[in-house]
Symmetry: C2
């Protein structure tokens, strides 16, 4: 079994690392927050002194960090992965970051013989814990095949979608669809509710037809209860849409509706709701319309 380094033990990284330990892998871990490191070390991991130290002792390094600058810093920065890496190391960046940055970092690390995959995930904290994440991978097939078994410890699927950066492009496509499907549900349900129809009956009448979706099935029941506990926070979805807008514009694709839902999420953040689940997009409409999509008693 390969020796794995794991950098970034946040809400997602911690349960992912723990699932690798449970599966019998020997892990060396690092995070700028000592507390998270202690917790994972208590379940059997070894503590690394820095990203450099982690890389020096590993055959595969997994990074799970908030955004592009964090990945650049942890990999290319002082005491970073690249300083410690030997040729042949495989770097699997599972963070959701800008696809262009994945490509940049891959080009840099290749100079030292390090192979990189971008492998962002979808599913959020519950699926990180259950090891049922969907993992979208970009990179070389022969590199993917060497770590496929490791990825499948953390997720129920790991699909190679294309070259380096393709994992994050696919993730951004996913995030565009999820954000807009939630906004679609919101406009429809607030309109129907304020026009006097029981939103639960609307849901039951339309869910089996072309309007049916995983967003409708997952989010309408929570909205009906007024439950906006995350799940996946609006402020994280804002980060993803910022990367989506950058990517779309850089390749020359206008995305006016993605831009629209981005503004709606920005408005919610200004209104103090950035920490709510992204199902809380409906609250933008509810507040303006003074009507709530809730169970009728």
């Amino acid at each position: 079994m390969k020796k794995i380094g794991f950098i970034g033990l946040g809400i997602m990284g911690k349960p992912m690392a723990m699932n690798l330990i449970k599966a019998g892998y020997s892990l060396i871990v690092y995070d700028i927050k000592r507390e998270a490191v202690k917790e994972v070390v208590a379940t059997g991991a070894k503590e690394g002194k820095s990203s450099k130290d982690v890389a020096a002792q590993s055959e595969v390094v997994i990074t799970m960090l908030p955004n592009s600058p964090d990945v650049k810093e942890a990999v290319l920065g002082k005491n970073g992965v690249l300083e410690g890496a030997k040729a042949g190391l495989i770097l699997v960046d599972m963070s959701s970051i800008a696809p262009m940055v994945s490509k940049e970092v891959a080009t840099e690390v290749e100079k030292k013989g390090v192979e990189m995959l971008d492998a962002p995930v979808s599913g959020g904290e519950p699926k990180a814990k259950d090891a049922t994440l969907s993992i979208m991978v970009g990179g070389k097939k022969e590199v993917f095949e060497q770590v496929e078994g490791i990825l499948k410890v953390m997720g129920s699927s790991a699909v190679l979608v294309g070259d380096i950066g393709s994992g994050n492009i696919t993730k951004l496509a996913n995030q565009i669809i999820v954000a807009l499907n939630i906004a679609a549900m919101s406009e429809a349900m607030v309109m129907a509710t304020k026009a006097g129809v029981d939103p639960e009956k609307v849901f039951q009448a339309i869910r089996g037809g072309l309007a049916g979706s995983n967003v409708l099935n997952a989010k309408v029941p929570l909205v009906l209860e007024g439950n906006f506990k995350p799940g996946f926070r609006i402020e994280l979805h804002i980060k993803d849409l910022a990367n989506a807008l950058d990517t779309a514009h850089s390749v020359g694709v206008p995305v006016p509706l993605t831009s629209g839902v981005m503004e709606i999420m920005q408005a919610l953040k200004v209104d103090g709701k950035g920490g709510n689940d992204h199902g809380g997009i409906v609250q933008f409409y509810e507040k303006l319309a003074k009507a709530e999509v809730r169970h009728q008693k």
Copy 2:
């Protein structure tokens, strides 16, 4: 078995009427186009001279017409349903029209003792033929129960969602979601394609997660083939969104993204694509981005 009058034998009305004849109902039919009438008469229906004549000989009258003004004319106009109706007649308007007009017409016909339901359908021509439409019904429960059996001859489900007008409100909610889910798929898939990822792989990687939807499953395979044959035409979806915007604004609900997708469909109509399937919303993006979401060979 109740004697049924059927007014409006277009793309949807004709197969719906024929399914009632097959089920053994005695039908008297009318349409301003003689050709459609002849075709249905050939399968066993009786020809009515006018909407008035149809109503005079029926216990239940079904109308299936293009939009609000057509329903007003056929029901309240000269030689219309109301002139021929006896007290106790049940009028089931299965057209997709403005909910306010459903309410207005119901108020008028009630004065003569006629009970009305609004019962728009979703599913399009294939499901009209297969008798698998989803029927969303607004009106009184006791009236609904009298015609439920008739509706279930034409559809696989008939759900009473609320008072008169609620059927059309639910249909508009459905149409908002479908239009925006198609636009979401379009922005995501055109971005991913032009950024260099095989759109089919993106589809396979994301369809099982939160981004998954009936729109994705139904429309992506057609888009990958460049198949925009209707199905459901963009110009008809424009009609529905016009009613959705009117309804949302009249009850005080801002729907900025619905408004955005309406403009995109208007642009496609101007571009001569109004007759394409609404999956053709993707063509708005493809043309601007000069990139097509197609199978890679």
